[in-house]
Subunit: 418 residues, 2 copies
Amino acid sequence: MARTNLLYAQSGGVTAVINATAAAVIAAARERDDAVGTLFAARNGILGVLGEDLIDTAVLGAEEVDALAHMPGGAFGSCRFDLDPPERNPAQYDRLFAVFAAHGIGGFLYNGGNGSMDAVAKLSAAARARGYPLACVGVPKTVDNDLEGTDCSPGFGSAAKYAAVAMLEAGIDVASMASRSGRVFVLEVMGRNAGWIAAATALAAQTADEPPHIILMPEIPFDEDAFLAAVDATVKRLGYCAVTVSEGIRRANGTLVMEQDHDRKGHVQLGGAGQCIARLIHARLGHKHHWAIPDYLQRAAGHLVSAVDHAHASAVGRAAVEAAIAGRDCVMPAIRRLSDEPYRWDLEFADAAAIANLERRVPAHFIRADGLHVTDAARRYLRPLIEGEVYPAFARGVPDYRRLKLPAVPRKLASYVP
Amino acid sequence: MARTNLLYAQSGGVTAVINATAAAVIAAARERDDAVGTLFAARNGILGVLGEDLIDTAVLGAEEVDALAHMPGGAFGSCRFDLDPPERNPAQYDRLFAVFAAHGIGGFLYNGGNGSMDAVAKLSAAARARGYPLACVGVPKTVDNDLEGTDCSPGFGSAAKYAAVAMLEAGIDVASMASRSGRVFVLEVMGRNAGWIAAATALAAQTADEPPHIILMPEIPFDEDAFLAAVDATVKRLGYCAVTVSEGIRRANGTLVMEQDHDRKGHVQLGGAGQCIARLIHARLGHKHHWAIPDYLQRAAGHLVSAVDHAHASAVGRAAVEAAIAGRDCVMPAIRRLSDEPYRWDLEFADAAAIANLERRVPAHFIRADGLHVTDAARRYLRPLIEGEVYPAFARGVPDYRRLKLPAVPRKLASYVP
């Protein structure tokens, strides 16, 4: 069997376990040195391919690869960058394939979400059109859990675990502080269009009286009066109320609930829904209010990784290498659920082109009829994804995340000028 | 030796380890059943004493006491309530001593911060004035680390560890996302008047180029131009910048930097400094900006407790019981540092009255000359306090915090009407 070189890259928002996928890719490629020559990693995703900024992963010792599996962030750098359509910018694709050719790349593994699957589909089509032999494999990753074609997305389980633990712990804190006027706590979690992380906070509760008492998801238009009535009833019953809100909740007219804060290009910067909700409660009901916005902490919490999520992330990395070696093109290894309890799963392969740019939202049967919480069906789906703990090593009080030295390999091509 | 009953209560903002103190109080009292009859706990701090809402801690089994030691929040409930001066409201003290007398209380253990030490001092003086035999013992607790008379405050080490880990993990995340315009991340931590938790995020870094690049503490007036210049220089050097900010930073004219959000009584609600700083950077320098506000999560993170902090919290609880048995009045067990590295410590006793209402701020020699970071002296002080990990048991993906049943003992007095 002729050996080929592979290229791995990370894309989009990083997760607590994307490096577990990277470590599995490296380990699998090393085990298959009968088929894989060099495994390169591109720095900063597809931007590193365009810039011919490549790392030979052989620089990492075995112990470093093991450590990589427990590090948050994207060790090789990530980016948010969409490829142009090939017909509009053929020069961009000329460059990508020039880099592939210069380094003997026969397989490209792109580790990302919906947008990355779009890149996989475009590159796959372009390779076929050019007659370049490339196995283009999407490797799923997103905290948002919004990828179609897979039962869940690696990265989500750990974000979900973080959010559930945050609600559990903050909820105990809030409950223990006596107040005559009532106390309200709002936890804002990620989710612009899909409420998966918010839904997962339901796993903090053992009974309906435990936090979170209300979960606001983007799938349901925000009804201010119904929401405030539910808060009021909860405070009257328990003396406090804990609310989870997805950053992207909208009113029935489509406007975002959060304060809008436009950046220089007019992009909306999210991050204010929790504050808006907390202030609304305070203004209308008069309760003491606190809000927490974990922001990046929820997707970077290497100290609180779900063992199931970690196993998923590793498995898709290994499967992607096998797929590339087998010459499977435009596919994405996906998680298939076999049973909820005990949780059993295996892998299947999905068509990356069919997944690209789709967005899986929380389905109606996972959302309680009043739109303010989740159903038992949601709990059955979510629970296994946060189970088990994988702790990093600690040193001097903090996780002992390695500082990896990742020198670029010498460039073979002229600089890229877009 | 005649046996006496003790009364334990929790006060002020709770911490990740205040229940470790409670568990140690219970365990120590059980071991000293030669001297202690019943150990009561008041529900919701001093409010529970006034309301004669008492729990006999004998209801907790040994296994529950062990579990209690690893639960965040205040298991018996806490409150923010200041006793009136005895001369202004003698009826309040009449009630307190009536409750003490009705339940045979010879020792009162109040677990709190500066305000609680004030309560200890007032109760102690009132007991002496009345000739009521009471050993009034303050038990230190605050995430703010602002108690005088002790090298550090139980509760702080775990909040500091949480904040350092948050900055480490989010910093890795931010660093891994490529951006042409530069990225800025702001972590807002607790600290209205003292920057201890903010300072502790310095422990995330191994070099000056690692997050946090800037630490803003309330001890130093916020200088917008100097700050923005430091952010700009960091982004130019590294491509991104991570900033820690205490919630209570103020400008030179004394105004809070955060957006002011007055509640109905005109009290300022803190919680917006991070957002203000992030938006300022964005408006003036144009960088992409994110901010995180862990809020209660940083003081409730039972899943990320410092082993040293946990040991401190347990030790002060045990010492408080011994002090009460010995009839020591108006004292507070305090942490005494014997050496930084290896870290060695023991306990001493401080005068609770001398501590009451003081506030220990970060000293000048812990703050870098430019006011934008900490010194090595600060790191030497802070490092031992976050060391070691104490994990709670997990069940079904989240910490297995017990739901304790804590029935009130029958009241012996008429209801209290303030």
